[in-house]
């Protein structure tokens, strides 16, 4: 009995250590801490089918994810912290839908931040894209980041958070041992574009130029590995994220980054409406002016123009 207790105590202690490690900065004494990630994936109420399908796609891609039911509140997001703790998750991916059309995705490292809020656009789920690619469910993806991710501090934070969320940790419970897909994260136009490709190894085609040379070099190093070439086939989903804000804590704390280039979709829509309305207003003004001009001439209500100078034909020849 005592032995059982001892072993249990040990494991629980180790778990605690992991969590503590997360909290502390820097590396632990062993050099690299264990990459232990669990992601709580959930949405708010009022998501559209497309948002839901995207969430399902992402959940299918992440064997270390834990999908939960819709979260009821949009204002008390700090409650998510408790929820994540309940499920033993140290990451939260929260889909917040507004007005049944706009999707905001929150990425948060749970115990103590940071939190990033993104606006998601151009959502295309796996199903609707009809791509030919396919991969093992739960295989570990290669995460390919754009070089731009290393330039700015906020992008570096985003990269780190993506690594935790989308990268399947080594030895995750339902992960598969082979690597057959790559996720691409690129920064363009101030947005982050996310793509997912299958890696298909095909017989090598001769005469590819510099790529070939590189390959040959590698072949010398890696032995028989490079008899095949790699071609990528897209799997899906596709989406584009615009970072809006970053908070220091998990769903709280001071804001440490705000994107000034982000324009709220509400604002965009209102501008559109206004520009449309301006046409109507202009027309209205014109009719009013017309009426006023007519009234000035005494032509109101279809009256015939009356010459007051007394030179009207009807008066002259009456």
């Amino acid at each position: 009995m005592a032995a059982v207790y001892k072993s249990l105590a040990k494991t629980s202690k180790a778990d605690k250590m992991d969590i503590d490690d997360d909290a502390k900065n820097g590396s632990s004494s062993s050099g690299v801490r264990k990459n232990k990630q669990r992601v709580l994936i959930l949405s708010s109420r009022g998501v559209t089918y497309r948002h839901r399908h995207l969430l399902n796609d992402l959940a299918a891609m992440l064997p270390h994810g834990r999908k939960d039911v819709k979260f009821d509140s949009k204002s008390k997001l700090y409650q998510l912290n408790e929820l994540a703790e309940l499920y033993n998750c140290n990451n939260v991916m929260f889909f917040e839908a507004r007005k049944g059309k706009d999707l905001y995705i929150w990425f948060s490292k749970v115990p103590n931040g940071p939190t990033i809020k993104f606006h998601a656009q151009n959502l295309h789920t796996m199903e609707e894209l009809h791509f030919q690619g396919n991969c093992l469910k739960g295989s570990r993806p290669i995460l390919s980041f754009d070089a731009t991710f290393e330039t700015e501090p906020h992008l570096r934070v985003i990269k780190e958070v993506f690594t935790h969320m989308f990268g399947v940790p080594e030895g995750a419970r339902k992960s598969k041992p082979f690597i057959d897909h790559v996720m691409g994260f690129s920064v363009a136009d101030g947005k982050i574009w996310i793509r997912n490709y299958e890696i298909r190894e095909v017989a090598k085609v001769k005469g590819e130029g510099e790529e070939d040379e590189e390959e040959n070099k590698k072949a010398k190093k890696g032995g028989d590995s490079n008899q095949t070439d790699i071609s990528l086939i897209e799997i899906g989903p596709r989406f584009v994220l615009t970072p809006i804000i970053m908070q220091e804590g998990a769903f709280g704390g001071p804001i440490i980054y705000e994107n000034k280039r982000f324009i709220s979709p509400n604002h965009v829509r209102s501008e559109l409406r206004r520009s449309k309305a301006s046409k109507h207003v202009a027309r209205q003004e014109q009719t009013r002016d017309n009426l006023a001009r007519k009234r000035k001439l005494g032509l109101e209500n279809g009256e015939v123009f009356k010459d007051k100078s007394g030179l009207d034909t009807r008066e002259l020849f009456a």
Binding site: R33, N35, P114, P141, R156, V187, I235, I256
Partner: protein, 419 residues
Amino acid sequence: MAKKGAKLTAKAPIANKQSNRVTDKKQKVDKRKSNDPPVEADEEEWEDEDSEEDSEDESADEEGGVDFSKLEDINDSDSDSEINSDDDEDEQEEEEAESDDSEGEESEIDVDGLDLDGLDPEEKEELAATTRVRQTINNKDALLASLKRISLLPLDSNNSKKSAPIPFSYHMTLVSSAPTESAIPSIDDDLERELAFLNQAREAALRARSLLKKEGVPFTRPTDYFAETLRSDETMQQVKQKMIEVATAKKASAEARKQRDLKKFGKQVQVQKQQERAKEKRATLEKINDLKRKRKDGGSASLGAREADDMFDVAVDNELGNTTKPGGKRGRSAGDHGPPNAKRQKKNEKYGFGGKKKFGKSGDAMSSGDMSGFNAKRMKHGGGAGDGKKAFSAGAGGKPKGSKPRVGKDRRKAQAGRR
């Protein structure tokens, strides 16, 4: 925060010169307040203050310039606190200092900092509307601190050098060699953009494969390894079906187009072919005629040769007559075609061929003057007029009653012998 920014910008064009300034100032002060409490509380606060704003605007109308100077004071105090707090080691304090720091950056884009007094109020409003009076926060220190807190890999290069290198399979992340955006000529060009993304991913995949092979991590899935895939077989079947559909549709449309084109040019092709055939025929005919002439000229030396020539000529003529239809005109003009065939003859007999057909059976002077069928002897014997045939047929029915039936042949001979 985003919410607040949007609200304020929406308000900016409406507010007049003074109130504009005041709201900006307020924004600043509010920011200072709001740095510490979490966002949720923030938003409520903002809403409250928006409602207050109107009343403050009115009071600010009288104050005017005083506000402006106050504002500068606040800016100054900001920088002061920054300096002071930088020295502190306390983390909490540091955070505040950082947030102050960010405010220092904000002042760069503040409209108030510009010299606007010289402008008309209208112009100023326009300027306020076009310049997004949006507070930006980019607290780099805080960002780096939080990055350090969560990063899987040690950030300082010194540290990593000391300890063993971290295997690639631990994190599986790769950073591309060049920024992808530089490879995209236009963000709206879907094809180019996707190609750039694909190239980035491909580069990473190639590098990752060599790295993983080096580390001895299995990469390629063996063909006999079956497991659940990300997309179900059903979906893949659908995708395949869709592809086949698209391919067949493409093929069909191509075929249809081809057919259409053929139809368009078919007539021309036909005419051309006919012309070609006629040309060929003419050529062969000419050749044959040439040959004939040559034979005639060259073969008159001896009689035997001439005979042979004649025979040859007949053969050639026959050939011409059989083969050439366009040459038929010549043949007809020569008048060497034989009688019409049997069927034609019959038909000519039956229906007539050429000449006037009307009144063909009616009597005229010629027919009434024709006495060829009249025989006086027959008239004497009685019976019908006409030839024997007629008499015979009439005799069957209407013989004179007095005449005896004809006797047999032998008796008639004997009678003739007695006479």
